[in-house]
Amino acid sequence: MADLLIELLSEEIPARMQPKAAEDLRKLMTDGLVEAGLTYVHAMAFATPRRLTLAVEGLTEESRAVREERKGPRTDAPEAAIQGFLRATGLTLDRLEKRADKKAEVYFAVLEKPGRAAAAIVAEVLERVIRDFPWPKSMRWGSGSLRWVRPLQGVLCLLVREDGAEVVPFEIDGLVATNTTRGHRFHAPQGVSVTSFEDYEQKLTRAHVVLRSDERRDRIRHDAATLAFAQGLEIVEDEGLLTEVAGLVEWPVTLMGRIEEQFLGLPPEVLQTSMKEHQKFFSVRNPATGRIEGFVTVANIETADHGATILAGNAKVLRARLSDARFFWENDLRVATSGMEEWKERLKSVTFHNKLGSQWERIERIAALAREIAPHVGADPDLAAEAATVAKLDLRSSMVGEFPELQGLMGRYYADAAGLPAEVAAAAEEHYSPLGPNDAVPTAPVSVAVALADKIDTLTGFWAIDEKPTGSKDPFALRRAALGVIRLLLGNGLRLRLEDVIEDAYHTYAVEWAKSYRLRRHAPMFDEPGQPEVVTDFFRGDAEKGDIFQGVEFVVDWLRKNLSLLTDPASMASHDPIYGEFARTGDFTASVLEFFHDRLKVHLRDQGIRHDVIDACLAMPGNDDLVLLVRRAEALAAFLKTEDGENLLQGFKRAANLLAQAEAKDGVEYSFGADPKWSEYDEERALFAALDAAEARIRPAMAAEDFQGAMSALAALRAPIDAFFTVAQINTDNQVIRRNRLNLLSRIRRLCLEVADLTRVEG
């Protein structure tokens, strides 16, 4: 048994890559060793900015010898077959054995692979691991062709036994393995030779290198907390930053400084973001005021002046950064309090998408749509439109230009500063949400209206120019937008006909396209002003193929009200027309809605509702009201989980199947005229009565959208249906009774289908 120690020393490894690199080294090396026939007891891997280290305990000294027998062709087989076997086994004919096998004599090859020494295997596996290492990005250097994350400078490779350590003979592109490494770049740059992993870790510590990243993290966390506590302050926790910083130093030395008074008026998020993004500082908060008042930086060196020079330098850099931030903040406040006109103007020259106009045009569309949506979500239409107009203006603010991650939040600050209503300011921050599946859903009505309008405008627009997501590609994050709409509606229980909203959104685009189109095609024909119809012929596709632009009436109507567009020569010089770029088929709305339904299915599946249950509800009217749809699906899912529900489903299927068979055979539809007077059995009469009773309960329940009530009424049918099928035969010789029973079955089918399309439920 031996222990293996490997260290790959290089120039600085990016912090973000270190954890995975250590794990990759462990896995690839141990997998390779095991595959080559060695076993081991335990393996650990470590990463610092300059080294990847692997320590394997209890490695076997050599791989087991392997004996393998392979059966070949018969001895009287054609020469070619025998030659092929010799090639495959790498043996000569005289080394094959002849053995009797059933009826014939057959060649056997006995292959023996002797065991190999651990050192040879380690060297072989290590070379492969280095050459194929899965760095996210790797590079060449100098004149060589080896790739590593940064230039590889040294390989330490030791097999350690009780009687001492052996350097594994290994060389890769001129780098020869040794038993030495180097310590901290400035504290201990000289070589250190080691004899075991324990010795290695101890000597590294003495050479100012903390090998274990969690130890570096703990040290930083502890020292930072102590420094802050001593001054009555606390660290703003940031695990991501902690991990990153621990990957930037081999010898963490934590230093704390104060933020100058002149910057304390900046929003805390700005201070935090600026310090974190630019300087990798932790923020230090005063628990009494809640303000960010200090910073903690982590140096990689102990100095004679106890870090005074380093801290002063860092403070100076911070001053420059925060001066910039304050400049942005003050500049932005000036624009904000003077009406934000400058930002509006500048958004006009920013393209959102070359087929979907500028950012400003987009904002105008969103505002129009938010106004339409507002009444459905309990928001004031004017406020919603105002909020939509303001919500994205911060995209042109200096602060967001510098820190894109502050978009929305700065919008809120600036809207507040401009004295806009609180709902408007809140919408600026909240309308981007929900961004991910775990992001909170806004609840304030104005925010909800803007958030919905924003997402639906994006979806509709990209759908119209046929930029739909395909497979794993979704460059405009349309799936996220659709899920956002779904979560906004469901989370707030908002009753909204999505088809109407999609149509509204589409009409806004339609008007823009109509304008562009007119200018291109019909500008010379405007001797007869006031003829809106000519403008829209482009939207009239091939009517026979159903290729009719669904917004045509809307556009004509709109142009009638805005005749000046047809007569005003100033509007002639517009931007390039976009004829032919847009979807204009009648099923546009349905296609967008289907996308919503697909996303809804994914969303509900995550919540444990089966896709066939959803399909059963999607087939019902009003399926563009997602809240209604989900309530129906939830009720149905719950119903189907009960025994009654499951049995009723079977009863329904039986009824439906019998009916379908009979209808196919007879060529008629049985749907009317069942009469209890033709009943032969009490159970049959009881079913008539039960259907009457259920119908009387289900219809009002459905009208009141009481799906649970309707389902429980259906549940009451289970026993009578079962009883009926037990006694009564449908296809009797008596044609009157048969017809009557089929018509009775059709009542079951109809009634069930009024609740949900149970034909789509599996099982």
Binding site: K137, F186, T297
Partner: protein
Amino acid sequence: MAELPLSFQEIILRLQAYWGARGCAILQPYDMEVGAGTFHPATTLRALGSRPWAAAYVQPSRRPTDGRYGENPNRLQHYYQYQVLIKPSPPNLQELYLGSLEAIGIDTSLHDIRFVEDDWESPTLGAWGLGWEVWCDGMEVSQFTYFQQVGGHDCRPVSGELTYGLERLAMYVLGVAHVMDMPFNDPSSPIPLTYGDIFRQTEEEYSRHNFDAADTERLFRHFEDAEKECRRLLDNEDLDPRTGKRIVMAHPAYDQCIKASHLFNLLDARGVISVTERQAYIGRVRALAKLCADAFVRTEAGGHTESAAA
């Protein structure tokens, strides 16, 4: 530890002496408007091909959007970069670099020097490399890059490139808070000059020019001209009819590429290029850089030999 430098120019002179002593050819700035020292043909073109190379130089650089009328303590539309390019990159390049910091008075036992991941990419040059930004006490003082590709060509061997932002570095070493207050020559000279004495007025003039006055029509036109001229030069036959020699005009064409790049920067500063157009313009400059790189590797300096071509 050497004595601390006293002026901006002393820092430059010490860098020149340091890299000169380590075998670099000390070149002079390129005589054109460029956005960064990388644009100097001694870097962009010489990073290509198989021939060894070692050069260091100061390059005045222009970033029109960074103009602040001379008021910002550390933002300038015209500034100096110090550039070192060594091909193939030597194994001790990090140590050599740290030595250069010592040479200009940065005591590495007192400061916190860090190599922080920063992959360099120049979309206009079609170039990228891996490396770091070097931090001194939290301040970025240099860019350190191993070139992997330039003008769409793989770099073999790989060049090591060092870029020092001279003003910022010098301000730190000299302990100056505002760039305009930095002593340019020795403050005890008979006529002491600060950075501001030399550049404050020009920063104002160029800021106004870049942001408001530059004639955008003309800039657009000149951009088109430079683009055309670059392509036209490269469309010429390799064989020069006058001398009968094979003369590929890689450098004259590359000058036009540099021009186009700077004109684009000016148009960008004037705010007349939209976000989507921006990508298109960058793509056009990159296409030129790529053509120039293609041409350079067909020259002698680019490693071309008659036997290899045959």
